[in-house]
Structure formats: C-alpha cells, structure tokens
Symmetry: C2
Subunit: 251 residues, 2 copies
C-alpha cells in the first residue's frame, strides 16, 4: 500500500470542485482511496462562519462563563453558541465542550476549526460528510473517498486522524465468523478501516501549513469480508457517554 | 509513504529473535518504521499462560459472577484473575473489564488475547512494550519500531490499531507553536504519530489468519518538529476515566 499527497492544491474556496482539483493533479486508479481533510471539504462547501452569526443565548453564556472561570481566560459565548447549534447532544460541558454532531461524530467543539481558516472566524464541519464524500467520489476516477478530521480521544494524549465521512466502501471490515491461525472463530473483531485510512493519511497530510489536504491511499485491499457503515455508537451502546452524562467536572 | 508486510514469517515461538526473522526476509532501510503486532512480541517473549496459572481470588470471582449474569453465559473467574494481575487500575468492571496495564495503556481485558494463540489458553501483552520495541530495534537495520495492538474505543464502533510500545522515535509530533496557513499559531495540536503508524500498519496486517504481523512503513518523515513520549493519560488529565470511576453499569 502506498500513500501520497496530491501536490500543489490551491487555497480552497467556496464552490470549488474538489474532485476536479484532484483529477487535474493526479492520475487516479479505480481502487484508490482518496482521503480528504474535512477542512477543505468545509471550505469548498462554504462552511465558513463568523462569530457574529451566533448571537449567544442563555445556555451558551452559561457554558462560556464556566469555561472562562476554569481556563482563567476570556471565552466568547458566541463560540459556545456555534458549538451548540452544530450539535445534537452535549456529551461534556467542562473543562471543554464535547458534543455529538448531527451526523453522529463525537468531537471537541463539534469539530469547529479556527485553524487554517482564511477570511472568517470559524470553519464548521461539513453538514453531512458522507454525502460530501459521495459527491466528491462522483467526480473522481477513484471509487472510494474518506473525509477525515483530526481529533483527540480518552485514555491517550494527542490527536490522530479519524474518518467522519466515507463513500464507495463500508466503514468497517467485519472479521466475525472468520477463523484465526489456530482455527478459533473470531467473535468480536470489526476493523474500523475508514479510521485506519484516515490515520494513515494524516501521517502524510500533517497538521500545519503543509498544504496537503488530500492523500491518495493506493493498493488498500478491502478483501471479500463483509462490512458495515455503523461507525458511531449511540448512547445505548456507549458506556463512556453514559458515564459522562452523570458526571460533572469539579476542578 | 509505502507500507508492506514482511512475507513468510513462521509461527513465532518463545525465544525467537523477531529482528532476525525480519532481517532474513526484507532489506530494511535506516528510516523504515517496523510495526510489529504485539501478538508476536508476546509469543517471542513467552507471554503464553494458562487459566490454571490464575487461581481466582474473591475479587475475580465477584467480577466473573457479575459478567456471567450480564452476558447470560459462563465466565471463567480465572480469566478475570489474569486480567486483574495484568492491571494496575480497574477503569470499568461491567459490562466488560476495562483496565490500565502496568505500562499505562487502557484496554479491554488488559489486552489479553485468546485469538491467534497456539498451545496455550492465553497470551498476555508484553510486560513493557517500549522495552520490547527497543530490543527489537537493536537487532534491526531500521531505526524505528512500533509495537501495535488492536483495540476498541469510546464513541465509535469497531477496533483499530494503536501503538503500545515504540523505540527510535517519539510517540507524538508536536505542532504547538507552529503556524498554520493563515499565520495563526497552533495551540493544541500534538499528533500521535505512533498511533497513526499502528493504524496504517493494521490495514495491511489484518486481524485474521493472514500471517502478516510485521509491516514496514517506508518513507514516513517525522520532520524536525519536537515530540514527546507522553502517550498515556493519567487519571488527573483524563475526564473519561474520572467519570467512569463514579459510574456503574445498571443493565
Ligand atoms: N492546499 C491547501 N491545503 C490546505 C487548505 N486548508 C488546509 N490545508 C492543509 O490540509 C492539511 C490538513 O489541515 P488541517 O487544518 O489539519 O485539517 P483537518 O484535520 O481537516 O482539520 C494541512 O496540510 C493543511 O496545510 C487549503 O485550502 N488548501
Ligand atoms: N507469521 C505469523 N503471523 C502471526 C502470528 N501470530 C499472529 N500472526 C498474524 O499477525 C496479524 C495480527 O494478528 P492479531 O491477532 O490481530 O494481533 P494483535 O493485533 O497484536 O492482537 C495477523 O495477520 C495474524 O495472522 C505468528 O506467530 N506468525
Ligand atoms: Mn478539523
Ligand atoms: Mn488535521
Ligand atoms: Mn491483541
Ligand atoms: Mn490485531
């Protein structure tokens, strides 16, 4: 398997056709997986926003006041408002905002970026990243697309690339029912290949000014196992979310 | 960047020299990252165990009884005992055992495998995987080694490869203080490159009978950013662990 960045991509602007920008720069093969940073998907979709677009309601003001006190630095209640409007569930309020976005992804600040954004205060995540992936895919000579973001996680420091949208392949590869080297049937292993592809792509894309938001993964063989698009846990099956529900930060 | 599996590796046995097995099969370059599944590190280190090695104490019997009731199927208290003995902290007791291993990694059942294990009931994780990585590295003509495992996570279904040990490189690449495309200084981004390498390697290694526990990542450039080996959160900095502390499963 090989991973390479699409070279010389310009600053992406609202209305840009990402598929076309990629096709002009690389010769794709049908079985390539094109991994696209959500940042440029959002830019192409015009998901820029300004803080003034989010006049803060009482809940946002309350949250910002708490965060301000904890951080000892000013927190803009309009930012909290933006996060609330981008979210369908509040997973954690302090010491940072962790929410579920409308498409099921749990992330800090609903994935709203203030980095690598030109001419606007904020960049919101794509509204429905798997639909974005499908749209991009339709314009590509490659059959598979993954939309990525960079996220932190419990238990481990640091961030890594994850998938927030995908098209042309299932999110996971299901090993259940397969047999291991010793003939034992595997009972639980469902490999989240879109997340692994996103992580791999992130190694090449980087997080800074590199200008390489699109990475092609060539030679990834999904194989003939089954798969599923069920990537995001709901509250019922997520004990961490249940635990966070009954918890509050006490300093 | 390129990823390829080391071909034709045999079943690994206690005492085997993994570095030698790899060197015999591929021409490594100094800047390759050799990603080794913990399974074979454990096998080489003789971390096989039998359930009889773990006579269950009262705590393990209590845990197994709870899990048995919840699962509606028999649970061996000796397995719970093995998990307890491999752990320094119990993060979650039900509906499954999530613990911190002695080297800081949080995983289900302390990472003890019952899959891909020949001639023993259990395979325990390496005692100190970063020391294992360093030992393997010493015998290789490549300068960097990552020891991987397959793990689940909160918020998302499925499992993906993570690093549990590494040598010759820091665990993370620190982008803080760097400037993004718009000249904005990045405040939080610490990229967990060893986890991303482990995830990438896992795409090639697979989870089944493939027989490809070692994957070479060629052409990964760490660059000249700083880094850190601080991969595992401690309780203080991990709100999810704090929340799980005060939580118990109620069916
Ligand atoms: N060429 C180009 N690169 C961009 C643009 N926006 C971001 N990038 C690059 O895309 C990569 C990922 O950026 P990042 O902010 O981490 O995106 P995220 O992980 O999706 O939030 C980095 O290499 C950035 O320099 C853009 O508009 N054009
Ligand atoms: N050649 C060889 N392959 C093995 C051996 N043990 C496991 N594998 C392979 O290593 C890969 C990873 O195995 P897995 O059980 O998922 O390891 P883990 O992720 O470290 O728990 C799969 O391709 C297995 O078939 C072994 O002793 N020899
Ligand atoms: Mn982002
Ligand atoms: Mn990023
Ligand atoms: Mn394992
Ligand atoms: Mn595995």
């Amino acid at each position: 398997m090989e991973l390479f960045a699409v070279p010389d991509l310009p600053e992406v602007r609202p209305g840009d056709d990402l598929a076309e920008l990629v096709e002009e720069r690389v010769d794709l093969r049908p079985d390539d997986v094109v991994c696209v940073a959500s940042t440029v998907v959002s830019k192409a979709e015009g998901r820029h926003a300004d803080l003034d677009d989010f006049p803060a309601g009482p809940r946002a003001r309350e949250i910002a006041a708490t965060l301000e006190e904890l951080a000892g630095e000013e927190k803009d209640p309009r930012f909290a408002q933006a996060v609330l409007e981008e979210s369908t569930d509040l997973v954690m309020e302090a010491p940072f905002l962790l929410t579920e976005t409308r498409f099921g992804h749990v992330g800090v600040n609903a994935g709203i970026d203030r980095s690598n954004v030109a001419d606007a205060d904020l960049l919101l995540l794509p509204k429905r990243p798997s639909e974005s992936a499908e749209r991009i895919r339709a314009g590509l000579s490659a059959d598979r697309v993954v939309v990525t973001d960079t996220c932190g996680r419990p238990f481990r420091h640091g961030q890594r690339g994850v998938a927030i949208g995908w098209a042309g392949m299932p999110a996971s590869r299901d090993w259940r029912g397969e047999h291991d080297r010793d003939g034992r049937e595997m009972g639980v292993t469902v490999q989240s290949v879109v997340d692994e592809l996103a992580a791999a792509a992130n190694l090449v894309a980087g997080e800074g000014a590199g200008g390489t938001p699109v990475v092609v993964a060539r030679g990834f063989e999904f194989g003939d196992l089954g798969g599923s698009d069920n990537l995001y846990r709901d509250l019922d099956g997520d004990f961490v979310r249940q635990a966070l529900r009954g918890w509050s930060f006490d300093g």
